[in-house]
Symmetry: C2
Subunit: 235 residues, 2 copies
DNA sequence: CAGTGGTCTAGACCACGTT
DNA sequence: ACGTGGTCTAGACCACTGG
Protein backbone atom coordinates (compact mmCIF):
# COMPACT_ATOMS: atom_id res chain seq x y z
CA UNK A 1 0.00 0.00 0.00
CA UNK A 2 1.31 3.38 -0.97
CA UNK A 3 1.43 6.28 1.43
CA UNK A 4 1.27 9.66 -0.21
CA UNK A 5 3.54 12.08 1.58
CA UNK A 6 2.14 15.29 0.18
CA UNK A 7 -0.80 14.46 -2.06
CA UNK A 8 0.50 16.45 -5.03
CA UNK A 9 -2.01 17.51 -7.66
CA UNK A 10 -2.46 14.79 -10.22
CA UNK A 11 -0.75 16.53 -13.11
CA UNK A 12 2.25 17.33 -10.89
CA UNK A 13 2.54 13.73 -9.73
CA UNK A 14 2.46 12.64 -13.36
CA UNK A 15 5.21 15.12 -14.21
CA UNK A 16 7.41 13.81 -11.41
CA UNK A 17 7.00 10.22 -12.46
CA UNK A 18 7.77 11.02 -16.09
CA UNK A 19 10.81 13.06 -15.08
CA UNK A 20 11.91 10.18 -12.86
CA UNK A 21 11.76 7.80 -15.80
CA UNK A 22 13.72 10.22 -17.95
CA UNK A 23 16.45 10.58 -15.34
CA UNK A 24 16.51 6.81 -14.83
CA UNK A 25 16.90 6.53 -18.62
CA UNK A 26 13.82 4.33 -18.87
CA UNK A 27 13.08 6.88 -21.56
CA UNK A 28 16.44 7.96 -22.93
CA UNK A 29 17.22 11.16 -24.84
CA UNK A 30 15.69 10.95 -28.32
CA UNK A 31 13.22 8.21 -27.37
CA UNK A 32 9.63 8.36 -28.49
CA UNK A 33 7.08 8.29 -25.68
CA UNK A 34 3.69 6.60 -25.98
CA UNK A 35 0.83 8.82 -27.14
CA UNK A 36 -1.24 10.93 -24.76
CA UNK A 37 -4.19 8.55 -24.71
CA UNK A 38 -2.05 5.54 -23.95
CA UNK A 39 -0.10 7.34 -21.23
CA UNK A 40 -3.30 8.68 -19.73
CA UNK A 41 -4.59 5.14 -19.57
CA UNK A 42 -1.42 3.83 -17.95
CA UNK A 43 -1.38 6.56 -15.33
CA UNK A 44 -5.11 6.36 -14.77
CA UNK A 45 -5.83 10.01 -15.49
CA UNK A 46 -7.86 11.88 -18.08
CA UNK A 47 -6.21 12.92 -21.31
CA UNK A 48 -6.49 16.56 -20.31
CA UNK A 49 -4.41 15.95 -17.20
CA UNK A 50 -1.76 14.06 -19.12
CA UNK A 51 -1.71 16.81 -21.72
CA UNK A 52 -0.99 19.43 -19.08
CA UNK A 53 1.83 17.37 -17.61
CA UNK A 54 3.44 16.82 -21.00
CA UNK A 55 2.91 20.43 -22.05
CA UNK A 56 4.62 21.76 -18.93
CA UNK A 57 7.54 19.35 -19.27
CA UNK A 58 7.90 20.60 -22.83
CA UNK A 59 7.95 24.23 -21.67
CA UNK A 60 10.59 23.28 -19.12
CA UNK A 61 12.78 21.92 -21.88
CA UNK A 62 12.61 18.19 -21.14
CA UNK A 63 10.45 17.09 -24.04
CA UNK A 64 9.83 17.90 -27.68
CA UNK A 65 6.39 17.51 -29.19
CA UNK A 66 5.20 17.52 -32.77
CA UNK A 67 1.80 16.78 -34.19
CA UNK A 68 1.76 13.39 -35.75
CA UNK A 69 5.42 13.08 -34.80
CA UNK A 70 4.66 12.31 -31.17
CA UNK A 71 6.50 13.20 -27.97
CA UNK A 72 10.23 12.67 -27.56
CA UNK A 73 12.77 13.18 -24.80
CA UNK A 74 14.89 16.14 -25.84
CA UNK A 75 18.24 14.81 -27.17
CA UNK A 76 20.18 17.22 -24.99
CA UNK A 77 18.09 19.04 -22.42
CA UNK A 78 17.40 22.67 -23.18
CA UNK A 79 18.67 24.51 -20.18
CA UNK A 80 16.96 27.77 -19.43
CA UNK A 81 16.87 29.84 -16.27
CA UNK A 82 14.36 32.40 -15.20
CA UNK A 83 15.56 35.57 -13.52
CA UNK A 84 13.34 37.98 -11.69
CA UNK A 85 14.15 41.62 -12.29
CA UNK A 86 13.14 43.50 -9.15
CA UNK A 87 13.08 47.23 -8.58
CA UNK A 88 16.25 48.37 -6.82
CA UNK A 89 14.22 49.51 -3.82
CA UNK A 90 12.65 46.07 -3.40
CA UNK A 91 16.00 44.37 -3.94
CA UNK A 92 17.61 46.43 -1.20
CA UNK A 93 14.74 46.24 1.26
CA UNK A 94 14.61 42.47 0.79
CA UNK A 95 18.05 42.28 2.41
CA UNK A 96 16.76 44.20 5.42
CA UNK A 97 18.70 47.34 4.55
CA UNK A 98 17.28 50.85 4.36
CA UNK A 99 16.82 52.15 0.83
CA UNK A 100 18.27 55.54 -0.05
CA UNK A 101 18.03 57.60 -3.22
CA UNK A 102 19.92 60.57 -4.60
CA UNK A 103 19.48 62.48 -7.86
CA UNK A 104 22.94 63.37 -9.12
CA UNK A 105 22.18 65.25 -12.31
CA UNK A 106 19.43 66.10 -14.73
CA UNK A 107 19.76 67.76 -18.09
CA UNK A 108 18.55 67.87 -21.67
CA UNK A 109 20.97 66.60 -24.28
CA UNK A 110 21.20 65.11 -27.75
CA UNK A 111 23.03 61.92 -26.84
CA UNK A 112 25.47 59.96 -28.94
CA UNK A 113 24.73 58.53 -32.38
CA UNK A 114 24.49 54.93 -31.14
CA UNK A 115 22.03 55.87 -28.44
CA UNK A 116 19.94 57.97 -30.84
CA UNK A 117 19.79 55.09 -33.27
CA UNK A 118 18.85 52.65 -30.53
CA UNK A 119 15.96 54.84 -29.45
CA UNK A 120 14.98 55.69 -33.03
CA UNK A 121 15.14 59.45 -32.59
CA UNK A 122 14.54 61.99 -35.35
CA UNK A 123 16.90 64.89 -36.00
CA UNK A 124 15.58 67.44 -33.56
CA UNK A 125 14.31 65.15 -30.81
CA UNK A 126 16.01 65.64 -27.47
CA UNK A 127 16.74 63.37 -24.53
CA UNK A 128 16.33 63.83 -20.81
CA UNK A 129 19.45 62.50 -19.15
CA UNK A 130 19.41 61.53 -15.50
CA UNK A 131 22.07 60.17 -13.19
CA UNK A 132 20.95 58.72 -9.88
CA UNK A 133 22.47 56.81 -7.00
CA UNK A 134 20.69 54.08 -5.09
CA UNK A 135 21.96 53.37 -1.58
CA UNK A 136 21.63 50.51 0.89
CA UNK A 137 22.02 51.61 4.52
CA UNK A 138 23.63 54.79 3.21
CA UNK A 139 26.24 52.94 1.16
CA UNK A 140 26.35 53.22 -2.64
CA UNK A 141 24.59 50.24 -4.15
CA UNK A 142 23.84 51.01 -7.78
CA UNK A 143 24.45 53.89 -10.17
CA UNK A 144 21.69 54.54 -12.68
CA UNK A 145 22.36 56.45 -15.90
CA UNK A 146 19.13 56.98 -17.76
CA UNK A 147 18.02 58.55 -21.03
CA UNK A 148 14.35 59.26 -21.66
CA UNK A 149 12.91 60.17 -25.05
CA UNK A 150 11.09 63.45 -24.50
CA UNK A 151 9.00 63.08 -27.60
CA UNK A 152 7.78 59.64 -26.50
CA UNK A 153 7.29 60.61 -22.87
CA UNK A 154 6.69 64.39 -22.61
CA UNK A 155 5.40 63.96 -19.05
CA UNK A 156 8.94 63.03 -18.03
CA UNK A 157 10.05 66.61 -18.64
CA UNK A 158 7.68 67.79 -15.93
CA UNK A 159 8.25 64.93 -13.49
CA UNK A 160 10.25 65.50 -10.32
CA UNK A 161 12.96 62.91 -9.89
CA UNK A 162 14.57 64.44 -6.81
CA UNK A 163 12.74 62.30 -4.26
CA UNK A 164 12.33 58.98 -6.01
CA UNK A 165 13.94 57.39 -9.03
CA UNK A 166 12.80 57.38 -12.65
CA UNK A 167 12.42 53.65 -12.44
CA UNK A 168 9.55 53.86 -10.00
CA UNK A 169 8.01 56.74 -11.94
CA UNK A 170 8.15 54.71 -15.14
CA UNK A 171 6.60 51.66 -13.53
CA UNK A 172 3.70 53.83 -12.42
CA UNK A 173 3.38 55.64 -15.73
CA UNK A 174 4.01 52.99 -18.36
CA UNK A 175 3.77 49.58 -16.77
CA UNK A 176 3.63 46.47 -18.93
CA UNK A 177 5.85 47.74 -21.72
CA UNK A 178 8.24 45.67 -23.88
CA UNK A 179 11.80 45.35 -22.67
CA UNK A 180 15.18 44.23 -23.93
CA UNK A 181 17.65 43.53 -21.17
CA UNK A 182 21.34 42.85 -21.47
CA UNK A 183 24.03 41.92 -18.96
CA UNK A 184 27.73 42.51 -19.32
CA UNK A 185 30.93 43.15 -17.38
CA UNK A 186 32.55 46.59 -17.61
CA UNK A 187 35.31 48.56 -16.02
CA UNK A 188 33.98 51.41 -13.89
CA UNK A 189 33.95 54.77 -15.72
CA UNK A 190 35.13 57.89 -13.92
CA UNK A 191 31.56 58.84 -13.03
CA UNK A 192 30.68 55.38 -11.80
CA UNK A 193 33.93 54.98 -9.89
CA UNK A 194 33.47 58.28 -8.08
CA UNK A 195 29.95 57.55 -6.90
CA UNK A 196 30.30 53.86 -6.11
CA UNK A 197 33.53 54.51 -4.27
CA UNK A 198 35.74 52.19 -6.30
CA UNK A 199 38.83 52.67 -8.44
CA UNK A 200 38.23 53.50 -12.12
CA UNK A 201 38.39 50.33 -14.20
CA UNK A 202 37.11 48.09 -11.41
CA UNK A 203 35.11 45.22 -12.96
CA UNK A 204 31.42 45.82 -12.41
CA UNK A 205 28.32 43.88 -13.34
CA UNK A 206 26.26 46.08 -15.65
CA UNK A 207 22.66 45.93 -16.76
CA UNK A 208 21.48 47.67 -19.93
CA UNK A 209 17.76 47.96 -20.49
CA UNK A 210 15.72 49.49 -23.28
CA UNK A 211 11.97 49.89 -23.01
CA UNK A 212 9.37 50.19 -25.78
CA UNK A 213 5.64 50.77 -25.82
CA UNK A 214 3.83 49.90 -29.02
CA UNK A 215 7.07 49.81 -30.97
CA UNK A 216 8.16 53.25 -29.84
CA UNK A 217 11.34 53.42 -27.73
CA UNK A 218 10.77 55.22 -24.44
CA UNK A 219 13.93 54.96 -22.43
CA UNK A 220 17.33 53.38 -22.09
CA UNK A 221 19.14 52.81 -18.83
CA UNK A 222 22.56 51.66 -17.75
CA UNK A 223 22.80 50.22 -14.25
CA UNK A 224 26.25 49.79 -12.71
CA UNK A 225 26.03 47.46 -9.74
CA UNK A 226 28.20 47.49 -6.66
CA UNK A 227 31.27 45.29 -6.56
CA UNK A 228 30.55 41.61 -5.81
CA UNK A 229 27.00 41.88 -7.17
CA UNK A 230 25.87 38.53 -8.55
CA UNK A 231 22.77 37.21 -10.20
CA UNK A 232 21.69 33.77 -9.10
CA UNK A 233 19.14 31.28 -10.37
CA UNK A 234 18.30 27.60 -10.06
CA UNK A 235 16.85 25.35 -12.66
CA UNK B 1 -19.95 40.15 -38.36
CA UNK B 2 -16.48 39.61 -37.04
CA UNK B 3 -13.56 38.71 -39.25
CA UNK B 4 -10.79 36.88 -37.45
CA UNK B 5 -7.42 37.91 -38.82
CA UNK B 6 -5.37 35.08 -37.39
CA UNK B 7 -7.75 32.76 -35.61
CA UNK B 8 -5.65 32.59 -32.46
CA UNK B 9 -6.46 29.76 -30.07
CA UNK B 10 -9.26 30.83 -27.73
CA UNK B 11 -7.21 31.00 -24.56
CA UNK B 12 -4.57 33.10 -26.33
CA UNK B 13 -7.14 35.52 -27.68
CA UNK B 14 -8.57 35.86 -24.19
CA UNK B 15 -5.10 36.57 -22.81
CA UNK B 16 -4.50 39.28 -25.37
CA UNK B 17 -7.78 41.01 -24.65
CA UNK B 18 -7.19 40.90 -20.89
CA UNK B 19 -3.67 42.24 -21.35
CA UNK B 20 -5.05 44.97 -23.60
CA UNK B 21 -7.45 46.02 -20.86
CA UNK B 22 -4.65 46.05 -18.31
CA UNK B 23 -2.43 48.22 -20.51
CA UNK B 24 -5.38 50.52 -21.27
CA UNK B 25 -5.90 50.71 -17.50
CA UNK B 26 -9.48 49.52 -17.83
CA UNK B 27 -8.24 47.23 -15.08
CA UNK B 28 -5.64 49.24 -13.19
CA UNK B 29 -2.87 47.86 -10.96
CA UNK B 30 -4.39 46.51 -7.76
CA UNK B 31 -7.89 46.19 -9.23
CA UNK B 32 -9.98 43.12 -8.59
CA UNK B 33 -11.12 41.29 -11.70
CA UNK B 34 -14.46 39.50 -11.98
CA UNK B 35 -14.45 35.82 -11.07
CA UNK B 36 -13.61 33.08 -13.54
CA UNK B 37 -17.22 32.09 -14.15
CA UNK B 38 -18.33 35.63 -14.83
CA UNK B 39 -15.38 36.34 -17.14
CA UNK B 40 -15.93 33.06 -18.95
CA UNK B 41 -19.52 34.13 -19.53
CA UNK B 42 -18.52 37.56 -20.81
CA UNK B 43 -15.93 36.15 -23.21
CA UNK B 44 -18.15 33.31 -24.27
CA UNK B 45 -15.72 30.54 -23.37
CA UNK B 46 -15.72 27.63 -20.95
CA UNK B 47 -14.37 28.14 -17.46
CA UNK B 48 -11.46 25.84 -18.23
CA UNK B 49 -10.34 28.09 -21.07
CA UNK B 50 -10.61 31.22 -18.95
CA UNK B 51 -8.70 29.47 -16.19
CA UNK B 52 -5.83 28.70 -18.52
CA UNK B 53 -5.68 32.30 -19.76
CA UNK B 54 -5.65 33.69 -16.21
CA UNK B 55 -3.20 31.08 -14.99
CA UNK B 56 -0.70 31.89 -17.75
CA UNK B 57 -1.02 35.63 -17.20
CA UNK B 58 -0.29 34.95 -13.54
CA UNK B 59 2.82 32.94 -14.42
CA UNK B 60 3.92 35.80 -16.65
CA UNK B 61 3.70 38.18 -13.73
CA UNK B 62 0.70 40.27 -14.75
CA UNK B 63 -1.84 38.98 -12.25
CA UNK B 64 -2.04 37.75 -8.68
CA UNK B 65 -4.53 35.10 -7.67
CA UNK B 66 -5.69 33.89 -4.29
CA UNK B 67 -8.46 31.50 -3.39
CA UNK B 68 -11.40 33.35 -2.06
CA UNK B 69 -9.45 36.56 -2.57
CA UNK B 70 -9.98 36.59 -6.32
CA UNK B 71 -7.78 37.79 -9.17
CA UNK B 72 -6.03 41.16 -9.12
CA UNK B 73 -3.79 43.09 -11.46
CA UNK B 74 -0.32 43.01 -9.95
CA UNK B 75 0.36 46.39 -8.27
CA UNK B 76 3.72 46.65 -9.97
CA UNK B 77 4.34 44.09 -12.66
CA UNK B 78 6.78 41.34 -11.76
CA UNK B 79 9.43 41.43 -14.41
CA UNK B 80 11.16 38.19 -15.15
CA UNK B 81 13.31 37.17 -18.07
CA UNK B 82 14.14 33.72 -19.34
CA UNK B 83 17.67 32.97 -20.49
CA UNK B 84 18.64 29.93 -22.47
CA UNK B 85 21.94 28.38 -21.46
CA UNK B 86 23.43 26.74 -24.54
CA UNK B 87 26.50 24.54 -24.74
CA UNK B 88 29.55 26.55 -25.80
CA UNK B 89 29.84 24.54 -28.98
CA UNK B 90 26.27 25.36 -29.99
CA UNK B 91 26.74 28.99 -29.01
CA UNK B 92 29.79 29.32 -31.22
CA UNK B 93 28.43 27.37 -34.17
CA UNK B 94 25.24 29.45 -34.07
CA UNK B 95 27.37 32.46 -35.06
CA UNK B 96 28.70 30.57 -38.07
CA UNK B 97 32.17 30.19 -36.58
CA UNK B 98 34.13 26.96 -36.34
CA UNK B 99 34.28 25.51 -32.85
CA UNK B 100 37.63 24.57 -31.41
CA UNK B 101 38.59 22.88 -28.15
CA UNK B 102 41.78 22.48 -26.21
CA UNK B 103 42.49 20.70 -22.92
CA UNK B 104 44.96 22.82 -20.99
CA UNK B 105 45.47 20.78 -17.85
CA UNK B 106 44.14 17.85 -15.89
CA UNK B 107 45.03 16.83 -12.38
CA UNK B 108 43.80 15.46 -9.08
CA UNK B 109 43.70 17.90 -6.22
CA UNK B 110 42.00 18.64 -2.90
CA UNK B 111 40.68 22.09 -3.76
CA UNK B 112 40.12 25.02 -1.44
CA UNK B 113 37.96 24.95 1.67
CA UNK B 114 35.16 27.00 0.10
CA UNK B 115 34.98 24.72 -2.90
CA UNK B 116 35.03 21.59 -0.74
CA UNK B 117 32.20 22.95 1.37
CA UNK B 118 30.21 23.90 -1.72
CA UNK B 119 30.50 20.39 -3.09
CA UNK B 120 29.97 18.77 0.30
CA UNK B 121 33.15 16.70 0.26
CA UNK B 122 34.34 14.47 3.08
CA UNK B 123 37.89 14.57 4.38
CA UNK B 124 39.63 12.23 1.98
CA UNK B 125 37.56 12.82 -1.14
CA UNK B 126 39.51 14.21 -4.07
CA UNK B 127 38.65 16.40 -7.02
CA UNK B 128 39.45 16.15 -10.68
CA UNK B 129 40.44 19.60 -11.87
CA UNK B 130 40.31 20.49 -15.55
CA UNK B 131 41.16 23.63 -17.44
CA UNK B 132 39.96 23.90 -21.03
CA UNK B 133 39.83 26.52 -23.72
CA UNK B 134 36.96 26.91 -26.17
CA UNK B 135 37.74 28.67 -29.43
CA UNK B 136 35.74 30.32 -32.18
CA UNK B 137 37.49 30.30 -35.56
CA UNK B 138 40.71 29.61 -33.70
CA UNK B 139 40.36 32.61 -31.39
CA UNK B 140 39.96 32.17 -27.63
CA UNK B 141 36.28 32.35 -26.73
CA UNK B 142 35.82 30.98 -23.26
CA UNK B 143 38.04 29.54 -20.55
CA UNK B 144 36.55 26.70 -18.52
CA UNK B 145 37.89 25.80 -15.09
CA UNK B 146 36.10 22.74 -13.79
CA UNK B 147 36.15 20.63 -10.65
CA UNK B 148 34.51 17.21 -10.62
CA UNK B 149 33.81 15.19 -7.49
CA UNK B 150 35.49 11.85 -8.07
CA UNK B 151 33.44 10.09 -5.43
CA UNK B 152 30.20 11.27 -7.03
CA UNK B 153 31.35 10.64 -10.59
CA UNK B 154 34.05 7.95 -10.61
CA UNK B 155 33.61 7.50 -14.38
CA UNK B 156 35.09 10.98 -14.82
CA UNK B 157 38.47 9.70 -13.72
CA UNK B 158 38.51 7.33 -16.70
CA UNK B 159 37.01 9.73 -19.23
CA UNK B 160 39.17 11.29 -21.91
CA UNK B 161 38.76 15.03 -22.09
CA UNK B 162 41.44 15.71 -24.66
CA UNK B 163 39.14 15.72 -27.69
CA UNK B 164 35.93 17.22 -26.35
CA UNK B 165 35.05 19.17 -23.24
CA UNK B 166 33.75 17.92 -19.91
CA UNK B 167 30.56 19.85 -20.51
CA UNK B 168 29.54 17.64 -23.40
CA UNK B 169 30.60 14.55 -21.53
CA UNK B 170 28.49 15.56 -18.55
CA UNK B 171 25.43 16.29 -20.67
CA UNK B 172 25.71 12.77 -22.07
CA UNK B 173 26.41 11.14 -18.74
CA UNK B 174 24.18 12.95 -16.28
CA UNK B 175 21.59 14.95 -18.16
CA UNK B 176 18.62 16.43 -16.33
CA UNK B 177 20.42 17.21 -13.09
CA UNK B 178 19.75 20.15 -10.75
CA UNK B 179 21.72 23.31 -11.34
CA UNK B 180 22.54 26.55 -9.60
CA UNK B 181 23.88 29.20 -11.92
CA UNK B 182 25.39 32.53 -11.04
CA UNK B 183 26.63 35.47 -13.10
CA UNK B 184 29.14 38.05 -12.01
CA UNK B 185 31.85 40.41 -13.28
CA UNK B 186 35.48 39.65 -12.45
CA UNK B 187 38.93 40.84 -13.34
CA UNK B 188 40.85 38.28 -15.38
CA UNK B 189 43.18 36.09 -13.30
CA UNK B 190 46.68 35.37 -14.57
CA UNK B 191 45.57 32.02 -16.01
CA UNK B 192 42.50 33.49 -17.67
CA UNK B 193 44.37 36.51 -19.00
CA UNK B 194 47.08 34.37 -20.55
CA UNK B 195 44.71 32.08 -22.41
CA UNK B 196 42.10 34.62 -23.44
CA UNK B 197 44.80 36.99 -24.61
CA UNK B 198 43.85 39.95 -22.43
CA UNK B 199 45.62 41.92 -19.71
CA UNK B 200 45.27 40.59 -16.15
CA UNK B 201 42.44 42.40 -14.37
CA UNK B 202 40.43 42.97 -17.56
CA UNK B 203 36.70 42.94 -16.65
CA UNK B 204 35.16 39.67 -17.81
CA UNK B 205 31.68 38.27 -17.63
CA UNK B 206 31.83 35.11 -15.55
CA UNK B 207 29.45 32.21 -15.13
CA UNK B 208 29.60 29.93 -12.09
CA UNK B 209 27.61 26.74 -12.17
CA UNK B 210 27.17 23.95 -9.67
CA UNK B 211 25.39 20.72 -10.55
CA UNK B 212 23.66 18.23 -8.29
CA UNK B 213 21.99 14.89 -8.84
CA UNK B 214 19.70 13.63 -6.11
CA UNK B 215 21.11 16.14 -3.63
CA UNK B 216 24.71 15.06 -4.24
CA UNK B 217 27.03 17.69 -5.75
CA UNK B 218 28.72 16.47 -8.90
CA UNK B 219 30.68 19.34 -10.33
CA UNK B 220 31.42 23.03 -10.19
CA UNK B 221 32.58 25.13 -13.11
CA UNK B 222 33.82 28.65 -13.66
CA UNK B 223 33.43 30.02 -17.18
CA UNK B 224 35.33 33.16 -18.10
CA UNK B 225 33.87 34.66 -21.27
CA UNK B 226 35.68 36.65 -23.88
CA UNK B 227 35.71 40.43 -23.62
CA UNK B 228 32.51 42.09 -24.83
CA UNK B 229 30.45 38.97 -24.10
CA UNK B 230 26.87 39.92 -23.27
CA UNK B 231 23.75 38.06 -22.31
CA UNK B 232 20.55 39.33 -23.89
CA UNK B 233 16.87 38.65 -23.33
CA UNK B 234 13.51 40.18 -24.13
CA UNK B 235 10.38 40.13 -22.09
C1' DC C 1 -18.61 29.01 6.32
C1' DA C 2 -19.22 30.51 1.97
C1' DG C 3 -16.88 31.96 -2.26
C1' DT C 4 -12.97 31.74 -5.15
C1' DG C 5 -9.55 29.48 -7.59
C1' DG C 6 -7.32 24.64 -8.43
C1' DT C 7 -8.00 20.62 -10.51
C1' DC C 8 -10.11 16.59 -12.79
C1' DT C 9 -13.07 14.18 -16.21
C1' DA C 10 -15.09 12.33 -20.49
C1' DG C 11 -16.00 13.48 -24.69
C1' DA C 12 -15.41 16.09 -28.88
C1' DC C 13 -13.54 18.60 -33.00
C1' DC C 14 -9.70 20.35 -35.39
C1' DA C 15 -4.89 21.41 -37.39
C1' DC C 16 -0.84 19.97 -38.60
C1' DG C 17 2.65 17.06 -40.64
C1' DT C 18 4.31 12.58 -41.67
C1' DT C 19 3.52 8.90 -44.66
C1' DA D 1 -5.10 9.83 -45.57
C1' DC D 2 -4.53 9.32 -41.02
C1' DG D 3 -2.55 9.69 -36.42
C1' DT D 4 -0.83 12.83 -33.01
C1' DG D 5 -1.03 16.68 -30.33
C1' DG D 6 -3.81 21.28 -29.49
C1' DT D 7 -7.71 22.89 -27.82
C1' DC D 8 -12.49 23.42 -26.14
C1' DT D 9 -16.60 22.16 -23.33
C1' DA D 10 -19.82 21.31 -19.49
C1' DG D 11 -19.96 19.65 -15.36
C1' DA D 12 -18.06 18.32 -10.94
C1' DC D 13 -15.49 18.05 -6.43
C1' DC D 14 -12.17 19.99 -3.47
C1' DA D 15 -8.89 23.17 -0.79
C1' DC D 16 -7.79 27.24 0.83
C1' DT D 17 -8.83 31.53 3.03
C1' DG D 18 -11.09 35.99 3.78
C1' DG D 19 -14.93 38.07 6.07
Amino acid sequence: MKVKTKAAPGYAAVKEEILRRIRAKAWAPGDLLPGEIELAGEFGVARGTMNRALRELTEQGYLERKRKGGTRVRPSPLRAARFEIPLVRAEIEATGAVYGYELLSRRIEAGGAALRALLGLDNDEQLLRLACLHLADGKPYQLEERWISISALPQAGRADFSASGPNEWLVQTVPYSDVEICFEANGASALVARHLGVAPGTPLFTTLRTTWLKGKALTHVRLSHHVHYRMVARY
